[in-house]
Structures are given as C-alpha cells and as structure tokens.
Subunit: 328 residues, 2 copies
Amino acid sequence: MAHDIRILTEAELRQAVGLDLTLIDVIEKAFAALASGTVVMPPILSMELKQAHGEVDVKTAYIPGFDGFAIKVSPGFFDNPKLGLPSLNGLMILFSAKTGLVQAVFLDNGYLTDLRTAAAGAVAARHLAPKTVATAGVIGTGVQARLQMQAAHLVRPFRAVLVHGRDMEKARACAEDLAASLGIAAEAVVDPAELTARSQLVVTTTPARSPVLRAEWLHPGLHITAMGSDQAGKNEIEPAALAAADLYVCDRVSQCETLGELRAAIESGAWTTGTPPELGAVIAGAAAGRQREEDITICDLTGTGAQDTAIATHVLTMLGAAGTLIRA
Amino acid sequence: MAHDIRILTEAELRQAVGLDLTLIDVIEKAFAALASGTVVMPPILSMELKQAHGEVDVKTAYIPGFDGFAIKVSPGFFDNPKLGLPSLNGLMILFSAKTGLVQAVFLDNGYLTDLRTAAAGAVAARHLAPKTVATAGVIGTGVQARLQMQAAHLVRPFRAVLVHGRDMEKARACAEDLAASLGIAAEAVVDPAELTARSQLVVTTTPARSPVLRAEWLHPGLHITAMGSDQAGKNEIEPAALAAADLYVCDRVSQCETLGELRAAIESGAWTTGTPPELGAVIAGAAAGRQREEDITICDLTGTGAQDTAIATHVLTMLGAAGTLIRA
C-alpha cells in the first residue's frame, strides 16, 4: 500500500518557514496542550557514544488535535568541526496522527529545532517578562543567541540588545548581526553582571557546566530564560537564583529535574519549595505568571517533543509544492 | 554543509535485500556484539496513543565496529485495516557512526524489521535447536509465521512444517505458502499440542495475551522460539515452561523482563532461578547453549535495536545505485 512521502531539504525548509509570530503562536499552543495533560510525551531517548565523542537524542510527542506527530533525531558529534562539519545535525519525521503513516521527512540538519527553541524563548518572554523591556541581554554568541533575541524582539520590541560571551570577538560579531537584523542598538559587554544589571530580559544560551549568571545579579523587574541546559551536568544559572526569584517556571518539570537548571538547584539543596509550575500552565491560566512589573522571574527550557510536533505539523502547511515526493 | 542522503522505498529495498544466510550472519554478529558489553543500546522509546488506538516504538543501538547506527520507528495503528491500510508501518534512518550525519532513509514500511526479526529466529535456531530438525511447527499465521519458517529452514533444513492458528483458513493458507516457498510438506494442524508433539522446533508468532503453548507439551529434543511478545501484557508461553526447560535464553534480559515471556514468568512466580543468559553470550561461547540433543530449550525474542543497526548497515552495502539521492 504505497503512499506519497514528501522529502524536504534544509534549503527548502529555510525558504518555507522562518521565525515569526505565527510560529510563536503554534509553539505556544503546544505548551498549552502540554499543560492540559492530554499530550503523550515519553522521556527523551538519549544515547551517549563515548567512543565516537557523540550523543544522540530522540524526542517525540503526540498532541491531541494536531494532524501529525513528529519524531526528531538530534545527533551531536563533537569531533566534527575537525572534519569541517557542524557538530549538530539531525532530521525530523512527521507521521499521521490518525494512521501512523510517514507523511514527510525533514532533512533539516537541526534548522527546525533552532526555530522551535527560539520560539519557546519568545513564548516564555511573552508570558513572564515585564510588559516593558527596553533592553535585552544574551549570554552566549552562537546561533541560539541570535535567534533567541530575534524571537524575543517579536513579543517585547526592546530598543537595545547586549551580548556577552567568553570570546569578545564572537560577542562583537553577534552584536553586529543583531544590530543589522533587528535594526536596534547592539553592544558587546565584557561583564555579564553589567549586562544583567542593564537588562529587563536576559537569555542564557550556553553549554555551561558551571553558572554564568549569579544570584546576586538579580534585580527587580528582571526575567531570565535559561535555554542552554539540556543534559545532566549542564548548569547556567546559580542555584540560589531559582530560590530567590519570585517565580521559577519549567517547560517540563520531569525534564528540568534531570536535564535543566532545576537539577543543579535540587542537587545543591538550594531548591526546597516543591514542584514548580510549567510554562503551559501559566499560558493556560492554571498557574500564576508574573504578578508585578518588579517581580523577578526565571524560565527553564530543556526542549520538548511537543515543540517538535508543533513545528513539524506547522511546516507541512507552509510548504506549497516544495520538496520531492517519494512513493514508498 | 549539504551532503547526499539516499532515500530508498520499500520496493527498492525488496529488490536489494532478502532473507538469506548472509543476513543471518549479520544479525548473529550483532547479537555477539551485544554480549560483548560494548554496544550502547538505550531502552526502547515507547509511546501509547490510546486516543488513536495506536502505539509507536523507537529502537536504536550503536555497535562499535559498524560504520553506521540505525534509528528505527515502528508505528502500529490498529484501526488502519478499517481504512484498507496495514496496521504496522515505519521507517529506518541510518546515521554515520563517525559523524552522526544522516546517510540513508529506508522508507521500508516495516520490511527490514520483518527480515531482521526472522533472521534473529534463525540465529536462535542455529545455536539452540537440536542438530536434527525433521519437522518444524509455527503457531501464528501472519507474515512472521512465514518468514520465521523460511529463516529457520536455512539453518535447520527440516522436511515438514506444521502450522497452527485460531483461524484454520489462515493456517491452511500459510501452510500452502510455506509448501510452495520451501518445497516441503506443509500441514495445517488444529491442535497446537499435536503440533508441538510432532515438532523439534516450534516458533510462536502471535500477539497472544495468554499462553498459546503449554508447559505440559514440552518434550525432549524440543526448541521453542517465542517472538510474539514485545509489550508488557503479551504472553505466548506458559510461565511454567520457562522454568521446566533445560535452558531459557533472552535476546536481551532487560527487555524480556518487561516485554517478553520472562515478564509473565516472573510475575507469576514461576521464574525463580535468577538472570537467564542472553543469546549473544551463547553465540560468543560465554554462556552454555544446548548440551544434549534431548534438551528442552526456549529462546525469548523481544527485538533489539542492535538488529536494526545490523540490517541497516548491511542493506547499505547491497544497494548498488538504487534509490534517490537528495542533497540536504
């Protein structure tokens, strides 16, 4: 019983879909569904390949009401740069939620993951950042540093952006890119404490294994989104900050406990206040979000299969006739 | 950094690879590697979709020395037959074991899974069945009933085959197919006790949730391979049979404990003799196999990601120029 399967390349996907408010709404809807309790989202399948200096993660989620569900494979092979290849790659497969038949294969090399991760940052900013953000800061200088600021700017149109990285040359390049893409003032900042002090919204986008943002830097009216930690052992935010904030929110508690900032906070003993709310519950109104402009809020994003299913089903509606049909 | 990815359809894969001794050797090598302890094989990612009357399993394994590793997605949507579609579908993706880059996408609709599952049955028969098998029996009448007998016949060239199923019409059709494909006598048998009594090798290929093969039917010189149970709740062999056999072997103990015959045997209290050996250890000589022709042996196959990686890397060498190259 052969059927048509659509194969899309990264180039075709880049033509079809980008970072915009429509995508942010799609990802927000996925988080709201997560909070409803009807989503089926198994734990991440994770495989560490020490011999190859690599790792592979597989994520998926079934969201009732969505036409399809995605299975996303993200390999990271950290010796690739020596071969002139990127460390991160991968693909997404979209299945019919009704029949389980393969509908599309997105050979995106991680592009859709980049987009849905940035969109989640915007969803967090929309629901947790102060209403007025004059200045946003980003710690980290890679693809996500750029995309997170672009996504956040769509929901909080800040007038200035600050960039900090261990490598100031990369921080300057990132600031230049953001100045060009957002058309606002952008500045590379040597001291992350200064960056935090001058910002109302800070996003951390690093693979740090010891904190890059200190609890003593928290100030009234600050929102922080930490999206770098996606593995046990990673940690961007000093554990005391989670306890000191007025509100700490997880994308998924079960993941943040093992892979996110919450892990380090629990292990260090800093987190003693039980189960934090999830972003989806805040979106759905089932949990309280920011109460006052001067509150300090933190959102911990580890990345969910629900986001993958949301972007994959969304992309399918944006493709027109793009791609190659294979009858299989 | 675009690279070529090869896309293969089920039809192209059926042209390129079939059930033969070469494939059985490849699958045997994967089991031997599993026993060596160097294979990285995470637990199966399993998602039950009650709303859609479906389930999805994802399997993978990294085998040192193999050029690639597979990730295999197996959806089962059990209302599909009402739509004229098969319940089982899916695909395999082959990644470079060195870089993690996607090398090939096998849109096989489960064909490669069928092959590697049958090949595992042959590996079990090769190492555990009596040297002489005059008659083989199969309980079940589907695709695996046919393939398991074809695979077993390659390693134990029996002269007659018996088929039992709840639906005698299907059993007769299966027997006719096997008579034609193997060129031997084939007979549909109403009573599974009679089938077992007359056979030296019995394979069970059902989705049964209560035993289809009774302990009291065991007889000297019998080998049983149970390959139907791949989920908690399934059970083909009466638990007492596992304890009564001279040797009970798992494909993977950690899987059989939760998904295979061993689960029911442990839950019923019938299994009290500790950790059974794995098929790979028998192949490698690290665990004892059949000692005497009159021994009674049972092998429990739940299906491993190692088999998927083995067949996927094997297929890649068999393809010639088949398939569609997509630069992504």
